[in-house]
Symmetry: D2
């Protein structure tokens, strides 16, 4: 049940980040800054991978979920704190926060 | 609107195929036959890629959707025609049929 | 033998496109234009996928190779024709041309 | 330099694992056991992702490399310790060991 919600949050966050990359590249200027696009590319990819590990019920999903939660948190901050944050970026931050929260619950940090 | 439904069908089919691969490997025997697992691996991957091309609004999405529709149709057949098809495989065939139909509408064959 | 060379060209082109995206985002301005980054994202992804289909010896690899050849050709043109093409972009165009050529030989257009 | 060698080891390990999955599914029986195929699927995917994070020079690559090293080590063990390990599986174990070693040097565990 919890894993199901987490898989859905990951797939939604993957999709939102990928769409927001296209949106920000289209706006150009500092919306297209390397660090901002870069964290969204990282976030889109780690979300897809974490979802896949959970879908396969891999025993390695807890480490990936923990890393996903961390990257989602940074992606949300990059969208929220952007000086020209628009609606698309605020929606992206929301999807990232939701995914960070659910992946944080599924996640276990390696030690 | 149509593209949105197609993206959702692709992400759902990706997820269902990946879960059904794990299910069929767990059952073993002819559920784990190379050709059956192979078409589900192809289907899971082309669905994720077609979704990404649509999400990015890439001008190349129509060719990928056409290929996705073809592979989804073969994956549905592999699940439906399996001599020991169970509920998981029938649900996989349904997700594939739905994705094949929507991708077929978005798709354009190269010429 | 031929397929081996094609897999290597795809993996090399995937890597070069991904590195050139980071390079162009870092340079900014019209290096970071949506259409230019977009075709490199499409190319990086289709190359990885075509490689995977060949590595798995999927019967569907010829259609994917044909699409890969087309996208690689457009990505090479986007890099070559860029008004401020630099060494990184010329190397990217070279990797794309090589991959387009080898995938074109492996590829079969759907009909 | 070191990162370059690590990227190459990841791409090689991705490719070898994917090919060995197809090989083991083709042999069937306990070569196709869920846990053995599953760890190779995890390994193929984490290797591709770690390579991508390094190619993009993402600041998050050290955590992914650390996780990659761990999964590669387990995949090598699954191939080496298999009661009917053949040449393809031994080559897979070698590629995994090499990738585990290089990713272990690039990797930093989260704390």
């Amino acid at each position: 049940m919890d894993m199901n919600a987490c898989i859905e949050a990951c797939l939604d966050c993957h999709r939102t980040c990928l769409a927001t990359i296209a949106h920000c590249l289209g706006r150009g200027g500092h919306h297209a800054e390397a660090a901002h696009i870069g964290i969204m590319m990282d976030c889109a990819q780690i979300c897809a991978v974490s979802a896949d590990f959970m879908i396969r019920q891999s025993p390695h999903h807890p480490h990936l979920c923990a890393e996903c939660a961390e990257i989602c948190g940074q992606c949300a901050a990059s969208c929220e704190n952007h000086p020209d944050a628009d609606d698309a970026m605020r929606r992206c931050a929301e999807a990232c926060r939701r995914c960070a929260s659910l992946c944080g619950q599924m996640g276990v940090r390696p030690h």
